[in-house]
Symmetry: C2
Subunit: 346 residues, 2 copies
């Protein structure tokens, strides 16, 4: 049976078993995500976070910036990640950063409880930024006058610290939102924004049970707020029905997900429910990026989560609905990074 | 003695041996570089080239875009390259792309005769983009409708071809110019733009012989034009005087430069003369990136090229002059890349 392991929230599934659309679970994207009280937004912090986001010097070898794997010129994930990441020892599909502020936990296994914590986790991960300790990065960036003045503006203290690096990048990431998808305009009242196939797809999305997990502003369960405390995850078992042909074909259970964090046997193949926004842009699919085609992904979900067979035309309708979740990407100007001044900081 | 191996140009060194400033060799940066007749600029081509420049899908494993090593948020080279590049099998310092259209050949060893040719060379280099043939990249990009329409707009033909990839990226790269440095404004008549130390530095730059190679709009010898055909390189021996302490310390002759391209013994330790624009931003220095500090680089040049000892205050004055070569970086908006449409193209 389907199971949630959600710390504080329990959704009554019966809500979703009728064929009446559960519109209270369909919500447009808010203008901004919830901002944590201990890291209020400021233009200085956002500007600094953007510089850090695009700076390769945040990796030990200067090889990658945040943007290398979470490409903001595209879908905020790593196009080609399914090919590239295993070479780095990463066997999980890079999640998109668009609308990331609407999530309550970070990583597929929810091992970081905040965007801020996730930053330092990346910096110290030997497969990613590969610093052996925070001080090494702090010292490198402290040698750049441009960063010292930017940290002074953002935090009142010119000293570069890992804590403030995390706060600045998280502040920038909370601006990465894609509002005004056709779905959002539809739910706000413009009923022409979904064509007939997309409307059939939305009905199927509710009736078949997809909405029982993929609800809320980000189609990823509850956003942080009254219903779900920041840091508490919204999880689902995947695959829920075991032993399907898909499980073998796509090696879905080679990775045990949340279990690797908690070592609790109850958490085997539990995963944070991912967002569906902009999903036509974020191929390949699933935690291991094993599935290239969204149609196939929908068929798989139906079978392995609900043990339904779903017809080709139903799949096509659901995909037509999912296409309406593509929002408007904001224009982003490339920041100017703090420059060296005749001396290499590396 | 000093030697040029320049296919068609011979500079009369006597011009530089007087202490009179050779002002005809000091030129401000033109608004645009020379545009080759077979690849005229167009806004559509430049826009397409910018998309390709920021697209990781131009590397086999999706790991790097052009911008990964030639970071336009910074100095157009790889901050940290001296650390990162050896891991990729590259032991040469990444040259900046700013003002690159003013060069007549590409790479430290001038093995590419045009910006267009340099693009396909990067795509097929196993250490960089790592495609085994052009068709593999063409096929990948041809699967993206957004590229097909962009190629149609730029070239009248929707089919993605390596030739047109090269033309588009080169067109974009020819827009990457940093005009209006203090030096440029000075040479155009604003005599206050150089302070006293910088003026002393400019005089030293001429008197000590630096200008005999680092002249012209890019301080890298003749730009392509009447004096130097596109594709013909402007080379210099480095080190010119052998056996100095620097040669050992910085392993300058581990790499034989142009010789590796031509196998002509005359070309051992011959290098394309690099630009000095924005040089305070492009640390570390020299073909192997072995020198971290610009002051040390100036001392080294004096000793290994001219066998002069140069005083600390003279070095400081030359550095003060070199600081005036920092131009205005244009604002760059991040492009939106052609997106997948529910199917991974990798």
């Amino acid at each position: 049976m389907r199971r949630f392991i959600l710390s504080i929230l329990f959704i009554h599934l019966s809500v979703f078993t009728t064929s009446v659309l559960a519109f209270e679970y369909l919500q447009p994207l808010p203008d901004t995500p919830i901002i944590p009280a201990d890291n209020p937004q400021s233009s200085e912090k956002i500007a600094l976070g953007k510089q850090l986001f695009f700076d390769n010097r945040l990796s030990v070898d200067g090889g990658v910036s945040c943007n290398s794997c979470h490409n903001l010129a595209a879908s905020g994930d790593a196009d080609g990640s399914a090919i590239n990441m295993p070479a780095r020892g990463i066997n999980r599909n890079v999640p998109t950063l668009w609308n990331i502020g609407h999530m309550s936990t970070y990583y597929w296994d929810a091992r970081a409880k905040s965007l801020e914590a996730q930053v330092s986790d990346h910096i110290l991960d030997p497969r990613i930024m590969n610093f052996s300790n925070a001080e090494a990065l702090e010292q490198r960036l402290n040698r750049l006058d441009g960063y010292r003045s930017a940290f002074k503006k953002a935090f009142g203290d010119p000293r570069v610290s890992m804590e403030n690096i995390g706060k600045a990048i998280a502040s920038f990431e909370r601006t990465l939102n894609t509002p005004d998808s056709d779905f959002d305009l539809y739910i706000k009242g413009d009923k022409n924004k979904l064509n007939k196939a997309a409307k059939r797809g939305l009905t199927l999305f509710n009736d078949k049970g997809c909405l029982s997990c993929h609800f809320g502003v980000n189609f990823a369960g509850p956003a942080p707020g009254p219903a779900l405390k920041m840091g508490d995850g919204f999880f689902e078992m995947f695959p829920n029905y075991r032993g399907t042909i898909y499980e073998d074909k796509y090696r879905f259970v080679d990775d045990l997900g949340r279990y690797h964090v908690t070592l609790d046997p109850e958490h085997k193949v539990m995963w944070r429910v991912p967002s569906l926004r902009n999903i036509v842009h974020t191929a390949p699919y699933f935690h291991n990026g094993a599935v290239n085609d969204l149609h196939e992904a929908v068929s798989i979900m139906s079978k392995v989560q609900f043990n339904y067979e779903i017809s080709e035309s139903e799949v096509a309708d659901v995909v037509e609905f999912l296409k309406t979740l593509t929002g408007k990407y904001p224009e982003i100007s490339l920041p100017r990074l703090p420059e060296q001044n005749g001396v290499s900081v590396n």
